[in-house]
Symmetry: none
Subunit: 187 residues, 4 copies
DNA sequence: AATGAATGAGCTTTCATTCAT
DNA sequence: AATGAATGAAAGCTCATTCAT
């Protein structure tokens, strides 16, 4: 019954994600959002009761997807798993930037808080997985041992931010970066 | 003699920089700025005629400093110059983030536009310098040749974003990252 | 046969009355109303075409009830009639408060205007009845004559607002107040 | 320094009081308020950070005035003190109505909460004073003893709501009501 | 007939900018 | 020159009412 919806929840969250990445949390307005959707601004409030809820839901969806992909990786071979993991991260390379805004959300709203708590948990799940794989790889003698693990992890994770100026396809790009990370830049 | 000056232009720009990095361009307000200065909000207009001018001036100052440091590097030995350059960048590791916001400034204001043009030029000066050093290094046989230069440059430049989780002092940190970048992570 | 009616008109008006008394005219929303009914907000418009109509109908129903009770009182003995009348008023002690909001309703709506006119008339019927009984009582020598009737009427009518802090049952409460009104508070 | 204010805080609170009494808490808008002041709506926010703060400050001012008047009454003779007290209340006969809205203010705002706490305290101070005077009067044998004190207090306090249809000047009106309350309405 | 969805009008609040002392 | 005060534009949000299934 009732009319048919003018935009789906998925559309809404997709557009939200794009706009937050483009304009940052503070630059993201519901007016802006509605301009990129088919309906009126007030219609959005039928689905989410305020801005925070929208952003939180958006972040949850993004990290959920990543966590799902990350947890389906076969971890038998640590190095191979790391390479796959890099690819997973790469596909959401703006993840970090997006989640960086999470701390700006100050809200009492229960739904938003729940979503943010989920994001938090997913975040630490991913960290744990990464540490686990690194330890495993180091045990297998695949990684240099003259450096503290956090430093290696940091450089690995930071790869996702590398600007892909030549627009190499994601799969190749992630594999390329992995090779550089492993072997270094010197001849 | 007039009243005592309530804050200097330098203070103003320093605080601006900090606040933009903390809150992002859209999260940066003149109200916020004045709260972190000793005078009244309206006094800011004695120095700059609007928000965009302030931000542009701030960016100009930051990149000027970098450019000055970068251009005083002795480029005789390419690899050594690159390491020094990394350190210069590192000291303003948030540069990228800051300049990323430059594109958000839409203004007609002449002064702001001039400052932004300067930023633009400095930006390309730095890129040229970087390319020059990379080519030199490659000619000297110091860098692998199986990869296009832009990819190497990208990974090099991206080093500055690596999160320094263990708070290693900047000088050591930049040198550490440079070693990893050169030699890779494998044993 | 159509769908089952989700709420009756009586339910609607009862809830309306309760909510207006609780939240005042301006604090009364159709959203609030629908939350206290079983159906959807839009269903309300099957019964009444707007908010004003609902409130007007509600007021009409309340004052109708009172007028009916008030007009069935045996007026042979003025003082006894007054006591009974007080009881009638008391049962709708919030009447005054409710009707006070009537003046806030600005509408062109015919149905609402008709209902408000009815309320007006009933109001004056009650005033007339009250005056009649007071005159009668005064003639019978039951009331002091050193005071203008309107003053006595005012104090009488105002009795219904007396806060019943000890929650005495209505019947006793109205009779108690009547005694005080008659005899005063002095020893 | 700075411009001169377009309205004083006193004006603001006076108008607020009038409008709340006229329209109730929910019917009171800042737009309405600004329409009854000389400046723009946003100017109000220079003095109070939101609606709740304004209303709370208004209530505080009203009850402060009353409390001050009430506490300067000479309580040596209980009955005389009561009559004076009635007059004090009468001058702010809408007090009750105004304070009734206090419970509608749900806020986290510290300033508003402090003002509301003050209102609460003043309220209970007044109740205590009233009870004290009633007990004193009863001891002096001035009041009937066949009724519980709360009932007498309730009828006394309720006097202030009596509609003054003939617009008797306040001083006379309060004294008139007091006589009726003491002596009753019977001949 | 009942209702889920859409929407514009209107209120609250914030902030860049201007004014006047 | 410095600043307290004023203000309009724009964002956030709510609600009465209408639409279309």
């Amino acid at each position: 019954m009732g009319r048919k919806q003018s935009f789906t929840e998925t559309e809404l969250l997709d557009v939200t994600k794009r706009l937050i990445l483009e304009h940052g949390y503070d630059g993201f307005h519901l007016k802006l959002l509605s301009q990129h959707l088919s309906g009126a601004r007030s219609t959005i409030y039928q689905y989410y009761s305020n801005k925070e809820e929208i952003v939180a839901a958006c972040m949850k969806r993004v990290i959920s997807q990543i966590m799902q992909n990350a947890s389906s990786i076969d971890e038998t071979d640590a190095m191979s798993a790391l390479q796959q993991l890099l690819h997973v991260y790469m596909e959401e390379s703006k993840l970090h930037q997006l989640l960086g805004d999470a701390s700006k959300i100050k809200t009492q709203n229960v739904k938003a808080l729940e979503d943010l708590a989920f994001v938090e948990q997913a975040h630490s799940f991913l960290k744990v997985q990464l540490s686990r794989l690194f330890e495993q790889a180091q045990k297998e003698g695949k990684l240099r041992e003259d450096l503290p693990l956090p430093v290696l992890i940091g450089t690995f994770f930071n790869l996702i931010n590398t600007p892909n100026l030549m627009n190499v396809p994601t799969q190749q790009w992630s594999s390329l970066l992995f090779q550089i990370w492993i072997g270094g830049s010197k001849r």
